[in-house]
Symmetry: C2
């Protein structure tokens, strides 16, 4: 791996292909064991080439987070796409164009939007009721029977929408603190979704259940009575997921290689070329209880492993990162070297860096919108 | 302005050309009054077209934050460029190519880097000693006479580097809390820089002084004995700068137009298409003492003005933003409308959105690296 470091001029997202494929394999196997469809969220990697690694393992249905991302993957041969974002009325005509080329699954949560879609669409689009099962970001409250019934009926009455199921994102697993808590959230969410499903069934509507967040799908072994899961981040994982217990350190499959541009011996700080325009400003609590923006990894056995907790990115400006390091790391580093940084949130970091460099030196491109 | 809103499909960075030009005019006039060179930092806008608005006002020298950004502006006809980032040894050959085409000003703070540059460069490059005058991000401590002397002498001995001056960034004005405190920081930084200048003079080296941060340059009237200022953010300003006292609300020259995709009457929250991949995750304290990621503005007199403090972006995920609003704004908003969001940090927001839409409907492109 060392030889690819010579070509690195600026912050570069390294990708360990073996780890990525192992992460995919593990989730595919788990979905198979549970008899559920794995419809992975591709917003994490946004790459047609990495998408093929999923297809090679039998994945046919995907999730994306925008109409542009749906266009990109449809252009690259995917035919069953869920746009996991409330339908944006300002993009219905683009949705209509996509629906000619692929099976589009849309998320609806308002009667007005259903009516607007039905008036505007020429093509058929599948609809999933977006259910809020406890996260409180968006969606129909799981226990709001009246609204759920009203919108389900509006979909049934429509000409161009077909009610396919109910969908939720249990994003509150991200702040939950422990695997036990994540299991408890999963179980509660599942029960709530089953309650909604039963109510719709009592109205004569059979629907599928779609759930999916990386902490839940990584930690829970038995997915119970769901039809599909939509995790995304598991393809790379990151320090947040490590903290949640979703992965092991050796599952983190991306790291940012950053040139060292200055050193400050008095305060044991290393200045790297790597800032907010490369990592975003996602933070988590570090070893000293303060906000950190990444942790230093070291090259080991053809990939990377974390150094001890003492080496953390403690500040980011637009291009600069300040890394607080141990005496030992300080001593063995010099200006011009590369420091490897494990990201807090790999989705945002990948989105900013725009391409990958594999450990065997191949550049993998991402979508450009 | 209303008619441009119809064409907005997704998060779009609106630019009020009049406000931008007024912000430029004001800083140009202030630099002129003080008899200093305005070398604006172009990392905020990253646009060749907006750069012309500066050139039209007599600006000839610019600041950028990366070698790529220097290439972009040199390609667009700029000939005097300071790369305000410690020299990255891994990009010296690209620096050399640029030095054939333009006057390049580099920042040095280590003898080793000076030697490496001198060994590698064929062309002449101007050098500025990066001085830490109190911010403690990077640079030579202003009172470390021995290191400053050593590196200045290394530059003097070199074949390809010419010592041009001493440069500092007083980034600690960003956390300072009040205009009085910002003035005090400016004054302290200036005194420290003059001390360094005198020491170099006593060694027979005449150098210029370069300072520059938007809060300092906006709030201080008399720049004192400096040669150039390098503010950047003032071209757009944002909510952070408003909080520092650097600008008035009516100086904020960019706002993000975000489609409304869902509404939650029970908690008076509006879900917008506009998330961390559009705003970054820069936050500040909001009206209720919690972190906020933007504030809602309303269209007024052909531009925008803020609504009251009750309308704030309180959460961002990758594409979603949650806006907590007053009853009044909730009542007059519906799914499909556009909400205007004033950003916390316009540099990061512009970098993510990649282009501008002016209020008269013109698209202004930014650099693509």
């Amino acid at each position: 791996m060392d030889n690819i470091l010579y070509q690195i001029e600026k912050p570069t997202l390294l990708l360990d292909r073996k780890r990525v494929k192992r992460n995919i394999d593990r989730m595919v196997a788990k979905a198979d064991r549970n008899g559920v469809v794995l419809r992975p969220h591709f917003k994490t990697h946004q790459s047609a080439e990495i998408a093929v690694w999923f297809r090679d393992r039998g994945v046919e249905a995907i999730t994306v987070s925008s109409v542009e991302m749906a266009e990109y993957f449809i252009d690259n041969g995917w035919h069953d796409v869920t746009i996991a974002f409330p339908v944006n009325l300002r993009q219905i005509s683009r949705l209509n164009v996509l629906a000619r080329r692929a099976r589009i699954n849309s998320l609806v949560e308002s009667e007005m939007v259903v009516r607007c879609m039905d008036d505007t669409l020429d093509e058929n689009v599948a609809a999933w009721l977006k259910i809020d099962a406890g996260y409180h970001r968006t969606g129909l409250p799981w226990d709001d029977d009246a609204s759920i019934a009203k919108i389900a009926l509006a979909v049934r009455k429509s000409e161009h929408l077909q009610l396919r199921g109910i969908l939720t994102h249990a994003g509150h697993t991200y702040g939950s603190g422990s695997p036990e808590h994540i299991r408890a959230i999963y179980s509660q969410v599942l029960n709530r979704m089953k309650t909604v499903k039963r109510k719709l069934k009592s109205m004569g509507m059979e629907v599928g259940i779609s759930v999916g967040d990386t902490p839940g799908c990584s930690i829970v072994d038995d997915f119970g009575d769901v039809d599909e899961i939509r995790p995304g981040n598991f393809v790379f994982f990151d320090l947040s997921q490590l903290a949640f217990g979703s992965c092991r350190l050796e599952d983190i499959a991306v790291a940012v290689a950053c040139p060292v541009v200055a050193m400050h011996a008095d305060r044991k700080q290393i200045i790297i070329y790597g800032g907010a325009i490369h990592f975003s400003k996602e933070s988590m609590l570090g070893s000293k209880g303060q906000a950190i923006y990444g942790q230093i990894a070291t090259f080991e056995s053809g990939s990377w492993s974390s150094t001890s907790d003492g080496n953390e990115v403690i500040s980011l400006s637009q291009e600069h990162g300040i890394v607080q390091v141990t005496d030992s790391l300080f001593e063995r580093t010099k200006v011009g070297d590369i420091l490897l940084v494990l990201p807090i949130h790999s989705c945002l970091t990948a989105n900013l860096l725009g391409r990958y460099l594999t450990l065997d030196g191949e550049v993998i491109e991402m979508a450009k919108y």
